[in-house]
Structures are given as structure tokens and as C-alpha cells.
Amino acid sequence: MSGAGGNRGRLHAGKLTQPAQVRLQAARSRRKLVAGGLTEQERDCTVTTMSSAEPTRRDFLYIATASVGAVGAAAALVPLIAQMNPDASTIAAGAPIEVDLSPIADGQVIKVFWRGKPIYVNHRTKKQIEEAENVDVAKLPDPQPDSARVKPGHSQWSVLIGICTHLGCIPIAHQGPYDGYFCPCHGSVYDTSGRIRQGPAPLNLALPPYEFLSDTKIRIG
């Protein structure tokens, strides 16, 4: 592109008419033209970076947009994460269950399921209750008196979550030196109160939330 205004020169057949040429020169002298047929001012409008000591309106708009965008993104995440929580049907299926204790004989242990977990309901004999109570609590790996693991006045009923606190197997009832529970996976031994006595398990068998609705009925959950 030669000269100011480059390829502007040609109109028809490469020649400007006299009056047109005059007009064009006049126009050109009013504005200094740079490459691309643009004025200096117009060319500078393509410059995109601006340095300024003061925060500009553009800075404000950027920050405002980014903030609203961040809030929107966080809000959008809420349902995506919340949908993985248990849904209404799972919560309904995990509602408390009632267990009738009358058919459970003296010394018998039954297994029920609540929220997918096995629950042992043990109708303990007098002998088992005595042995569970007459223990030096301080010597236990996870010290806890038997009274803390049954409901007051109902010490013959032991309600426990049947999941070994070692690595999660189900211990077998009426097994082991204490006639309590024995976990076949790694040899943990529990007494009739569900307390760990020997073996690798660190804690006593957990207690589910439960209450007595009557002497012969409990609600677990």
C-alpha cells in the first residue's frame, strides 16, 4: 500500500475526476490517514490494553461479572451434589422398624435388618447377664460397663449392630469363650454384651438407636 490512504486512489478506470480529487485531498488533509484507510484515532481504537492508575469501569464490570458468575456456578453445583444423597424412597425404606420380642426364647439370638445393617437382638440368660456384669471394666480393651450397653430395667435384652469393628464382617452369635460373638474373619471375640475381649477389633460392637415401646416390643431407629 503506497501513500496515505493506499488503495483509495482508484475510482473509475483508475482516475479521479478533478472535482472529486480536490474534495478528497481536502478531506484527507483534515484527518491523518494511516494504513488500512483508518484515521490515527480509529487505529488506536483497536488497542485493547489500557493502563490506568484508577480502577476503570471495565475493571468494575469484570469483577462484578466474575462474582455473579461464581455465585451462579456455586448454585449450579448444589443440585448436582445433593442428588447423590439418599433419595426419599431410600429414606423411607430406612424408617424405624418395630421388633416383637415375645417369640424370642431365653438364650436365643435373632438377626433383623435396619438400614441394611444386621442387628442382633439377644435374649440373655441370667447366667450371661451376671457374667457380663461381673467384669473388671478397666481391663477391657474398650472399657464400658454392661449397664451402659442395655436399657435400664431391660438388662436381659442386648440389641447390637452385628458388624465387627475391625473390618466389617458379621460376627457369629453364641460363639467364643464368653458365649457371645466370634468373628471368623480375623478372630475377634466379643462377650454377650458385645464388648471386644480378644482379637484385632478396636471397639465394642456398636449400639443402634432403639427404645422400648413396651416390655415385649422395641423400635429400632
Binding site: P19, G37, T48, P79, L80, Q83, D87, A88
Partner: protein, 423 residues
């Protein structure tokens, strides 16, 4: 975009990273300093919108897949469970279903933009063809997704569309049995559609990468259809195109949200809330709105095999557009006659869509046939001829000139002779 990017990281960790995996440099050169024509209008925001919609569909889809059961006895109820029991399940389902509609809306607008401004012309032919492939993948994905809820429309759409393949001579029936995995649409069909519906969007992602790569090789087209000549013709992608894309994405999402929150079932068919019954065909089977134009073309042809071929041809013919349009001028802005045929084509497409929703009787059939003729004539007759005979308007000298002289005649155009001209 070739060679190394101009990204010069200041941060020591970024320098370390750049030498080993120059992703930051790639993003920098492709989406930050990337020279973008300065005259792009809002029709150019739909590419970004499509990318967003693809991500949205994948995210909502993966999350829905955590709760859906792909078995004929359980699928319908699992969807109802999503709607009623899953936390925000109703939102995720409506986002995904209406998201598909918005996805197609954006895709059609994106394509019409390409047709109007000649974005398929040299050197963007492969870019355009990749786009046609993307459309085909979208159509397949959407079809299979619609089958999953196992409602009446799901089941019968699956039956009708898979039966199309029986039109193929000799091997047609075997292909249909192979697709079904049985003697009719059933559990094997549902299971495989679920698997493929999960897979294809990721295939789409791959083809989108190729599509954007092809775009960056040629550079964007622009509303004036002339290539950038100097740096004055372009601006950096960020912040100009980024902000323009983001703004219109928000506007688009307002429309999306309007459907999701106020009229979430408007675009759907109520019959799909009836569990699938293989013994009873609904009186009016129609696909979702985005398939209606193709459905109208299929039904317009009275012969089974030719109808199926016309259906396929109506999409495949798009791939030949770069060679069917013989005009040397890209943008319809400078092709006044082409513009009229183009808008007629748009009206024909919308008309075919409307006709596709109507029962195939009486005048509906007549008009569907007329519009189908125009549809194919546009590609096979009008465009090739128009390029040769059309008188186009003079092109501006540069993009910058076109932008800055908006409304005024381009520099160098013959000026009306002044009254006392002396040659």
C-alpha cells in the same frame, strides 16, 4: 494456529509446566490472544453456546444415570422415582430433556448462520463436514435418549425408526433384527441404546475438538465474508469474543430456564407419560420437534425405500454444500438474490417441521411434497445456478473498512458522478 504459542509465563511453576505439557500456552493462543474478526455479530455466539450445552447435557446425563435403571420392567418407574424421590431429580430430568431441545435449537441456528454467511466455503469445507457429522451424532444420541424413559412414544419411536432399516433390500430385515437384539423392540434394545446413549456424547466431544481445530486452521469466517488482511481487521478473542459469547449464553440460558421452570413439558408429548405398551400404538406418533422436518420429508415420499433414502439424503446433502454453491462471494450480505432464496429455505424448513407434526392426510401431504421439492431443489438446482448468474454487490476492501464505514458505500466503489464532471 501453528508453531509455538506466544505465551510467556511469569510464574516459575507455569514455566516448568509449559516445557512439559504446554496446555496453558495452547489455551492462551487459541482462546485468549487468538485473532478474531472484529465484525462478528451475535450469530457467532452459537458455537460457544453449543459447547456449553454439550457439557450441560453430559453433566446432567451422567448424574441421571446414577438413578436410572435400563430394564423394560423398571425403566419407567426409575424415571418417575427420579422425578419424585431423588433430591432435585425433577430439575435434573427437566434440564436434560429440555436441554436436548435447546441443544438442537442452537445447532440449527448455528447451521443457518453457516449457510447465510458462506462459512462452508473454501477453506472451511472440512470444518462444515465435521459439523454435519456432529449433527448426525446428535440425532442418533437424541433418538436413543428418548427411548430410555420407556413411555409409549419411546417404544413406538424406537419401533418405527429401527423399522426404517427394513427398507434396505436384501439385508434390511437382518439389520433390523440385529439392531433389536430380538424379534421386536425389547429389553436387549433398551440396554444397548442406554450404552450407546452414554457413549456417543463423548464421541461428539472428540469430533468437536476436531471441529474447533479445523476452525482455528482456517480462522473464523465473518459477516462480510472477506478474510482478515491486517491486524486492524481482528481483535483478541479475550475479552471481546469471550464476553460476547458469555453474554448471549446468559440470554440463551434465560430461554432455557423459562422452559425448565415454567413449561417443562411443553415440547414433549404427553403420551410419553404412559408406560410402553407393545400391544397398542398411539394414534399420532410424532418425534420430538427437532426431528419433525426430516419426518415430514420421510412421509412425503409414498415409496418406502425412496422415503428412507430421501430422509438420509436430506442430511447427507448438507455435506456437499461447499461444492454445490458455486458463488465466489461468501456472505449473503453481498448476494441479494441468494438472500431471498435462503429465507425461503428457512421458511420451508420451519414449514416442513410444522407439517411433520400433522397427520399425513389431505393438503398436509401436498404441501409436504412441495416443500420437500424446494428443499432438495435449493441444494441441487438453485445454489449451483445462482452462483453463476447472480449479480453480487461489491465487497468492501477490508473488514476494518466494513466495520468503520457501516452504512456508507465502500471505499473505492464508483461514486455517483458529480454534475459538472470533466473526464
Amino acid at each position: 494456529m501453528s508453531g509455538h504459542s506466544t505465551y510467556q509465563p511469569q510464574n516459575a511453576f507455569m514455566q516448568w509446566m509449559e516445557r512439559r505439557l504446554p496446555i496453558a500456552g495452547l489455551v492462551y493462543s487459541s482462546f485468549i490472544v487468538y485473532p478474531t474478526p472484529r465484525n462478528l455479530n451475535y450469530w457467532w455466539t452459537f458455537g460457544g453456546i453449543l459447547a456449553f450445552m454439550l457439557a450441560a447435557q453430559i453433566v446432567t446425563g451422567v448424574v441421571l444415570a446414577m438413578h436410572y435403571t435400563p430394564h423394560v420392567d423398571l425403566a419407567f418407574n426409575s424415571v418417575e422415582q427420579i422425578m419424585r424421590d431423588v433430591n432435585y431429580g425433577w430439575l435434573l430430568r427437566y434440564l436434560h430433556a429440555n436441554g436436548a431441545s435447546m441443544f438442537f435449537l442452537a445447532a440449527y441456528i448455528h447451521m443457518f448462520r453457516g449457510m447465510y454467511y458462506g462459512s462452508y466455503k473454501e477453506p472451511r469445507e472440512v470444518l462444515w463436514i465435521l459439523g454435519v457429522i456432529l449433527l448426525l451424532l446428535m440425532i442418533m444420541t437424541g433418538f436413543m435418549g428418548y427411548v430410555l424413559p420407556w413411555g409409549q412414544m419411546s417404544f413406538w419411536a424406537a419401533t418405527v425408526i429401527t423399522n426404517l432399516f427394513s427398507a434396505i433390500p436384501l439385508v434390511g430385515e437382518s439389520i433390523v433384527t440385529w439392531l433389536w437384539g430380538g424379534y421386536s423392540v425389547g429389553n436387549p434394545t433398551l440396554n444397548r441404546f442406554y450404552s450407546l446413549h452414554y457413549l456417543l456424547p463423548f464421541v461428539i466431544v472428540g469430533v468437536v475438538v476436531l471441529h474447533v481445530w479445523a476452525l482455528h486452521m482456517a480462522g473464523q469466517n465473518n459477516p462480510d465474508g472477506i478474510e482478515p488482511k491486517t491486524e486492524h481487521d481482528t481483535v483478541a478473542f479475550t475479552p471481546y469474543a469471550t464476553i460476547k459469547d458469555a453474554f448471549f449464553l446468559v440470554v440463551f440460558c434465560i430461554l432455557f430456564a423459562w422452559f425448565v421452570f415454567y413449561i417443562p413439558n411443553f415440547l414433549g408429548h404427553p403420551d410419553n407419560y404412559i408406560p410402553a405398551n407393545p400391544a397398542v400404538t398411539p394414534t399420532h406418533i410424532v418425534p420430538e420437534w427437532y426431528y419433525l422436518p426430516f419426518y415430514a420429508i420421510l412421509r412425503a415420499i409414498p415409496n418406502k425405500l425412496l422415503g428412507v433414502m430421501a430422509l438420509g439424503a436430506s442430511i447427507v446433502i448438507l455435506a456437499f454444500l461447499p461444492w454445490l454453491d458455486t458463488s465466489k462471494v461468501r456472505s449473503a450480505r453481498y448476494r441479494p438474490l441468494y438472500r431471498q432464496f435462503f429465507w425461503a429455505f428457512v421458511i420451508v424448513c420451519i414449514g416442513l417441521g410444522w407439517l411433520g407434526s400433522k397427520p399425513p392426510e389431505g393438503n398436509y401431504v401436498l404441501f409436504a411434497r412441495i416443500f420437500t421439492v424446494y428443499y432438495f431443489a435449493y441444494f441441487l438446482v438453485i445454489l449451483p445456478v445462482l452462483g453463476k448468474v447472480e449479480k453480487t454487490k461489491p465487497l468492501p476492501n477490508s473488514i476494518a473498512e466494513a466495520v468503520l464505514l457501516k452504512g456508507k458505500p465502500p471505499l473505492g466503489a464508483p461514486a455517483p458522478p458529480p454534475p459538472l464532471a470533466k473526464a
